[in-house]
Amino acid sequence: MNFSSQYTLGYRFFFCFIIVIFFINVHSEVLAQTEITTVEFRADPDNKKSKYILTGKITDKQTGELISGVGVYIDGLFSGINTDKNGLYLAHLDSGRHRIVFRQLGKRGQPFIVELFGDGVLDVEMENLSFELETIIVRDEEKDRNITNPIAGVTKMNIEEIRLVPVLMGEPDVFNVLQTTPGVTSVGEGSSGLNIRGGQADQNLIMMNEAIVLSNSHALGFLSSFNGDVVRNFTLYKGTVPSNFGGRSAAALNIEMQKGDFEKWNYSATIGTPLTKFLIDGPVIPEKTSMVAALRRSNANWLLNIVNESDVRNSNIKFHDIYLGINHMFSQDHSIDFSLLNTGDYFRFSNQFGFEWNNFVTSLTSNNLLTENFSLIGMAAFGSFNNGFFEPEGADPAIIRNGLYYFQGKITGLLTFEKINITFGGEGVQYQMRPETLMPYTVESGVIEENVSKQKGLEYAPFVSMDWNPTQNFGLSGGLRYSQYRQLGPDSVFRYQEGLPQTSLTISDIDFFETGTIVQYGGFEPRASFRWTFNKVNSIKAGYSSMFQYLQTISNATGPTPIDLWQLSTTYIQPQRSHNFSLGYFRNFKENEWSTSLEGFYRTTQNQLEYRDFADLFLNPHLETELVQGQGLAYGAEFLIQRNSGGITGWLAYTYSRSLIRTTSEFSEIQVNRGNWFPTNFDRPHIVSLVTNFHLGNRRNFNLNFNFSTGRPVTSPTTNYLIGGILIPDYSDRNQFRIPNYFRIDLSYITNGFVRKWNDKINISVYNLLARRNAYSVFFQRDENSSRLRPYQVSILGSVFPSIAYTVSFNK
């Protein structure tokens, strides 16, 4: 960077700082108060005891559904009791007067004074916090969640918190927000997927209402497929993953979607520069059946048209997603939920190449409370993912199509006792990959059609876990999952010459399996975690989990792309197995106004995939000849300091994270970097993010983000040579250099709309305020003046991206 650009950057930073100070000084904040209800329970005078049972159900006032995970606070302390999946709680309390508060993220806290002189049933209805009015209270109610959360490495957020983080296109987005939290990053702007604690994007289990979602990004990865308007909350397990989740080796992210209102119809429409959205939800049958439907569609092409480059102007990008949720309550104890997500994307870069992909996930979930302390949840899901990569012009315009579909079934039982919760069940997923096909893209194309058959696999796993909270200060969770995987016929298995690496030249024979099991893998996956809260503001948590992964993505691009091919384990592509360790210390200050945490993690992964040089992955019936498996290693530490209440809230997160890999082939000719450890494409040792929310009152928020990370590794030439006038770079070891560091500032301003009588708002956001050209990658080209190779950096978003959206909501 030269002096002038430093000066410019400094000037812009100063300008932003002045704006921030201005907003801080002119606004103050008043916190809302909640009324306290007094209830009394009295036993028969002849049956007085020293302890009584207080129990009850917690329901959502708006939707009527039972709420799990509500914390029960007794006399100012978290009791260690949370409502179970059926919204039930049970507490043994001393006879007397208690102050009891029910708290959950995104809900208004419900305080009670309970005169407990007999067993009592206290059912509570909790109402949602209004985002615009009471953002600060959201944090206030949940500000000690880092201490009380039973396991380490869990990030939870609801949509109200997501909306406060300024992101690209001004669209509240789960993935973009997650990247501001410790331990979560990505290869770069525009690459799909998340890298969590040094893991590959495909090592994360992404779920929507616990149904697997394989394709989860729009616009080449700039947005996730989950419309923020219908996201209720998300939970990211990046440390210890509970045993009811499996199939990936690093982390699990479950996104819960909104349910429709059981009492009134709500409508919302958003028109913005990048997107248009519609939302409707309400009672189909009042207090019995509700529905929610949301549509989101891109408006991004006009942005391409103003770019001063003909290839970009001639490009086309569009996407949409549709979400439909229907919930029916047969009774207070039995309900059924249906959800459907359909997404579609199309991207064409000039007349050179293009991509299209679509995704369909639907699930049906039955929630049944069979007895007071036993519930059963059954879920059946179907998913389908298709993608295409096309070249619209040239000698032979062609398209390559890939895809797969899957059936998922899961049954979960939950037994709830006073201090022990037992979860058990089983899960099965059958994957069927669609044949990979090459077809002409135009009628004039002379390309020869090709078809490569793909695999079918079945993964199933019984699981059990137990959460034991013997005291308020101590909690222990243990779980076990036994996963089994079978690759099923039909498929061809290539045989290779002994003593030689697997290449297309060493194929000696082919075995064809019409039906039955071709190969199977499996094993136990233990999970364990403990929490020790030695006073109400200090806790230590530790965890361990072991996981198998039988489905992984295959891509030879620099970063994960939305069209990456999902590949099942085969005879030669063995499943990954990881061992994850985490340890964390959590400390809150000033009555939980400030919360801090320091967490460490360490993970080893066997059979992590790496690509041989110039791997040819398309239409290849023996992909093992292009891959080499190895050992992955990720370790690091995360520091978080968060302000939960006040006029300014937000967090500062610092992550030190390393992600390394080494190939472990017995054949030196296919080893990468001679079998030495080298950094993965997403190894970013230092990541800092600062998220600040300025609550300006009167439904206005100003939000500012800072992001810094170490540049990711790249492979650089060590020399160049000339052949036939072509200057050819020669590259040596993989990922030995790094691109320049990444730095970005975003801001957003959310305020009331035009019409005072309407419930409308305006969201103005500016992504990459400094217009910094953060490098995504580097490439090398001949310098015309000096006839030498010169490195150039590519910035995906090399300029400032402002956006504005107007939303109006109404109900009847």
Binding site: I726, I728, R734, Y792, Q793, S799
Partner: protein
């Protein structure tokens, strides 16, 4: 609201290109040997170039004391003659279809040998055409552009065919002729300047994956400068190569066209078919390529150029001799790093 929109517009005007140059990451390696040879069935001089890499990423320098030998599968050996600047030439020998050849290079006391490569039998037929247009080429600003295209008919055969094209340009350059009286020296001869036309545009065709038997391809594009004032030849060499050579060039194409996009194939070293006989671990850059070849030429003259173009280096009595551009007086200055001569190629014939 108007204010918001205005702010957006102001900010948008700050947008610009997303590609910036960087400083080199580190010093580059030097002293690694590069051997490239092309052996065809044409009745022309066969050339092998031997050079070494240099530091700072600059272009390699020729190895002038090497010994290069052509090997045939029948055991014959033909010695290339040192033509200077790392070039070694062999005259009077040409490749035969379906025969295999290799080279052996002795340099710095080390012996480097290629694998035997077989010359294919099939070759296609090219015909050339060109256009002059006014459109963006090097950036978004329109300019005068010359485009050379080829129409190729590929023979229908069950035998696999792999094709590669390379395009060279040769233009004539006339230096300023100053009048004189009395015993005058002869006017300076014409210069002939040789270069590759858009060398990074690697045109390749794989007949195994395509039914297409007629191709329309752009062979190269360049801006129209005063070189076009004089006759300008373009020579397209079509090479019918074997599968291994095709795969080598495909990798080169990937590396050369790598633009740092999301979908780039990650870079990697490219291995050719030449190795150190005694030390298999030594990296030897380059390739020994054999193939059937066919050269097709086309030329342009001043009359073809639809743009105004003043005659370069025209004598003007009002301009003193030392005020003429150096390129009007000196062929080497005009040619720069390009190859040039004063004799011209033997095929330099036009109407």
């Amino acid at each position: 609201m108007l204010g918001y929109w205005f702010l957006s517009l102001v900010i948008l005007t700050h947008t610009s290109s997303c590609i910036d140059s960087l400083d080199f990451f580190s010093e580059t390696d030097e002293g690694q040997i590069i051997i490239y040879g092309l052996f065809t069935d044409l009745d022309e001089v066969q050339v092998v170039n031997v050079s070494k890499t240099v530091s700072m990423g600059l272009i390699p320098i020729g190895v002038t004391n090497a010994q290069v030998t052509l090997l045939t599968e029948e055991g014959e050996r033909f010695i290339y003659l040192n033509a200077g600047n790392g070039n070694y030439e062999l005259q009077g020998i040409k490749g035969m279809e379906n025969k295999s050849y290799a080279i052996e290079v002795l340099a710095d006391g080390k012996v480097y040998r290629s694998s035997y490569e077989k010359i294919p039998s099939l070759i296609a037929e090219d015909s050339l055409s060109f256009t002059f247009t006014f459109e963006p080429l090097r950036n978004e600003i329109p300019e005068q552009v010359f485009t050379l295209s080829a129409y190729t008919e590929i023979p229908s055969s069950s035998e696999p065919i792999y094709l590669r094209w390379q395009t060279e340009e040769t233009h004539l350059w006339m230096r300023t002729v100053f009048p004189c009286s009395g015993l005058c020296p002869p006017p300076p001869p014409n210069c002939f300047i040789y270069d590759f036309l858009e060398p990074s545009r690697l045109n390749l065709f794989d007949g195994l994956t395509s039914n297409t038997r007629v191709l329309n391809q752009v062979m190269g594009r360049r801006n129209v400068d005063n070189s076009f004032f004089f006759p300008f030849f373009f020579s397209v060499t079509q090479l019918s190569i074997n599968r291994e050579a095709y795969e080598y060039w495909e990798k080169v194409k990937i590396m050369v066209n790598n633009e740092g996009s999301l979908f780039d194939i990650p870079p990697a070293p490219i291995f050719g078919n030449i190795s150190n006989v005694d030390d298999g671990n030594e990296r030897v850059f380059g390739y020994f390529e054999v193939g059937r070849a066919k050269i097709t030429r086309i030329y342009t003259t001043r009359q073809d150029v639809p743009f105004f173009m003043p005659e370069p280096c025209k004598y003007n009595p009002e301009i003193p001799r030392d005020a003429y551009p150096p390129a009007c007086l000196n062929c080497a200055i005009r040619a720069g790093s390009r190859k040039w001569d004063e004799g011209g190629p033997e095929w330099w014939v036009f109407d």
